[in-house]
Amino acid sequence: MKKLVTALLLFGAFAWAESPQAVAIRNAKIVTVSGPPMAKGTVVLRDGLIEAVGENVPVPADAWVVEGEGMTVYPGLIDAMSTVGIPSLAPAPSTGAVSGRGGRGAPTTAAPTATTAAPTPRSMGPEDRPQTASWVLAADEIQPTDPRIATVRSAGFSTTVTFPERGIFGGQGSIVDLSGAEKTGEMVVVPAVGQYIALARGGFGGGMGGGFPGALMGYIAYVRQIYLDADHYKLVKEAYAKDPRGMARPQYDRALEGVLDSRRILLPANRVVEMDRMLRFAAELKQPVILYGMREGYRPEAAAVLKKYNSPVLVSLKWSEPPRDADPEQEESLRTLENIDLGPSTPGLLKKAGVPFALYADGLDQARDLQRAVKRAIDAGLSREDALRALTLAPAQIYNVADRMGSIEKGKIANLLVTKGELFDDNTRIQMIFVDGKQFKPADEAPAGGRGMTTDNPGVNQ
């Protein structure tokens, strides 16, 4: 035990120093996710990759050794939908009380935060491309200095799928390893995984003065028009490329370029009605789709609808709660009560129905809140294995990166989570997190002001 503490202290001290080339965690319980767990095994990390994993793997001579007795090793968690890494998307200003871990590099030059701020002139129709930043890649906006990186890493996340959520076409998400690299580019696993689409401007569409679109049907019409325009744009561009002579030069449109570059779309859907509506819509647009939200995913009709299209879904871990400071005389509708009562059973039921899904933190970036939220799903019928999978291999599969992350396998990226106690238990402590082979210790007190997703209420489209 003493030895262990020493090792930990040593590692803590070296956390932001040069990381060793190779690390071996031995005699630990290893939950690989892709295969059966090993009661006692060794994982060897080298140059940011998993070099070996197994029960009888020798420890290389040059490796730093972590005595894993009494510890469990999991793949690093993946938050399937996040804004972490883009500081300007955090609603609360940073307090500056940030632990230095991870933020080794000098702050990069200020990101172009104003690129996609809400356009000021009043939009008069789809042609004005309202609230559109389809061309923006999260990868280009990531800043290693975002304090939320350390916060969510302390909750066990090695990776986020970060979306520049600013507007209807918010931009394209990127898979980001929270390694706090000197260069942003080193953090990016995949620069473009899909277009984030929202169907509300942070609230209910008033429609009487805010410019087009105002009502939900306006948002839908706008998205539809964009895809019609993109098809036409492509047609004209191709014709022009073939033979420009005698043909008017097609006008460059970055909004359409961004849409055409997107390999899939993410659409909000909380209610069953919205799931049905959005899946139909995606089919009409001929786009591969991932739905996010899923507040009513527990309802029997939900699984039936989702099964029909077989698209993967992202389930928000922010379960429905009774409204805060509500009028005590106010009676909730039966539907709201059911959402509160049965919401956490969604993942278990989706699993049973065979709907591919991943969980996303949706702003629950404190380890404690996250563990409690996952625990509620487990208590409501999701197995521990499936809960872990929904935060590791499942998102990796949904975003087509299961060949490089999501489980502890030889050759995959060295993203690991080491705990004392079983993950998602109340008393479990996260001991260390490896991201790209680099070791981090959870911050004792996560910095304040770190929370806040912009999808507080994803799919407010009612």
Binding site: M208, G209, L216, D229, D276, N461
Partner: protein, 453 residues
């Protein structure tokens, strides 16, 4: 157990499949063939037989309606229920790119309540915030089905137009703030009735040019050429459909001058106004409305709620009808929608129309206006079995809906509804108590570090 109960409730809500039904011993108000005492036979979702003596198919479900009345399902030609996320795309003066079809909310409780008031079909309209509003859709109140299954299959889609105070934004023509701390609302053209006309004309000028572009393209394709198609514009596409007669115009209006204006604009551009909605001064220009062929969908006696509604009279429906206009009475309101039968009754009181004519104003006439009278609107053999059973004379305040059938399926049953209430109440109480308990448990612990939730 909880889950089971939930599933049980869902199953109870889902209507049974269409079966063969005989409604016996009823007083049947057919609308087209007067009142018959006898039976209605329903087979495969259609009305198979109506008469004093009918051949009752073997194994048919019998509904004994002794002392009760059967009328065709009520049709509301002007409703805004079952819409998610706002009924107005009011940001622009021409919002024909938006479509109610995209935002149908089949779970809106107003559908069930309308059903309980005998409504089986409704024309769901975009709001009246702009001169040319969004596309509209006709729904059957098939409570429990999904959005697509609610759509009245084959019904011609429509588009909402609006004249007068709403589109010119009376009270706020110059823009300005809306309430404390509101963002500044920029003025939106038009601000006058002249501007409303101009907006519609401009839109159709654009639509004509757009149509010409597509027509030229289609002609080239027909000749075997492979030109690049024009850009598809959702806003103009809807107006092109109006010009081609593939989309009905339902125009919100009040005053005689604007009614005449719109009819002239339509004549100029070669399209038809399918219905004039509200049309409270229709009685002043009924001849002109009839000549154009537009229907009139009005209120029974709702008036004086704004300046342009002061010249309304409860005789409007009867007077327009006298001049040959097809007249319906609509609700424009989720509450009024539940008792359109008594709205029809008022037309008998004011204007002295016959019982059948009055009933037609909420059944056959709106069906005609929506172009679905071959399917619904009367109790006739071959039509959809959309039927309402009342316990008393339907055009009276005392009548209560007992059962409602759509396509031969019972979608509302008063006895069933009443008997299921205790179970739902119990479930709700259980969950409410559970929630209260949870909140009490959490309270003594205080804040979990202050930054939760």
């Amino acid at each position: 157990m909880r889950k089971l109960l939930c599933a049980g409730l869902m199953a109870a809500l889902a209507p049974l499949g269409a079966e063969t039904i005989v409604i016996r011993n009823a007083t049947i108000m057919t609308v087209t063939k007067g009142t018959v005492k006898g039976s209605v036979v329903v087979k495969d979702g259609k009305i198979a037989e109506v008469g004093e003596k009918v051949l009752e198919p073997q194994g048919a479900t019998i509904i004994d309606a002794a002392g009760q009345y059967v009328i065709p399902g009520i049709i509301d030609c002007h409703s805004h229920i079952a819409v998610d996320g706002g009924v107005n795309e009011g940001s622009v003066s021409v919002s024909s790119m938006v479509d109610i079809k995209d935002v149908i909310n089949p779970e809106d409780i107003s559908i069930y309540r309308a059903l309980a008031g005998g409504v089986t079909t409704a024309n769901i309209l975009h709001g009246s915030a702009n001169a040319i509003g969004g596309k509209t859709i006709v729904l059957k109140m098939r409570w429990g089905k999904d959005a697509q299954q609610m759509i009245f299959e084959g019904a011609t889609p429509g588009i909402k137009f609006a004249l007068g105070e709403n589109p010119k934004r009376a009270g706020n023509p110059q823009g300005g703030g809306r309430g404390a701390g509101a963002q500044t609302v920029q003025a939106r053209y038009p601000a006058t009735r002249m501007g409303v006309e101009d907006t519609i004309r401009e839109a159709f000028n654009e639509a004509k040019a757009y149509k010409a572009g597509w027509d030229a393209y289609d002609a080239k394709v027909a000749k075997g050429e492979h030109p690049i198609p024009p850009r598809k514009d959702l806003k103009l596409e809807a107006l092109k459909e109006v010009l081609e007669g593939k989309r009905y115009v339902h125009a919100h209006c009040y005053r005689q001058d604007e009614i005449l204006m719109l009819l002239r604009v339509a004549d100029d551009y070669g399209f038809k106004i399918r219905t004039l909605q509200h049309v409270l001064e229709g009685y002043k220009v009924a001849k002109e409305i009839a000549a154009h062929g537009a229907g009139g969908s009005t209120f029974s006696d709702w008036f004086n709620y704004k300046m342009e509604a002061v010249d309304a009279i409860p005789y409007n429906a009867a007077l327009m009808q006298k001049y040959g206009v097809v007249v319906s009475l609509n609700s424009d309101d989720a509450e009024l929608m539940r008792h359109l039968n008594t709205e029809a009754g008022k037309a008998m009181k004011y204007g002295g129309v016959s019982e059948s004519e009055a009933l037609a104003m909420v059944t056959l006439n709106p069906a005609k206006q929506l172009g679905i009278d071959n399917r619904v609107g009367s109790v006739d053999v071959g039509k959809d079995a959309d039927l309402v059973i009342y316990d008393k004379y339907p055009l009276s305040d005392y009548a209560k809906v007992q059962k409602v059938l759509i396509d031969g399926t019972v979608y509302f049953d008063r006895d069933k509804e009443v008997s299921e209430r205790p179970a739902k109440e119990a479930q709700k109480k259980k969950l409410t108590d559970q929630e209260k308990q949870l909140q009490q448990q959490q309270r003594p612990q205080g804040g979990r570090g202050g930054r939760i939730g």
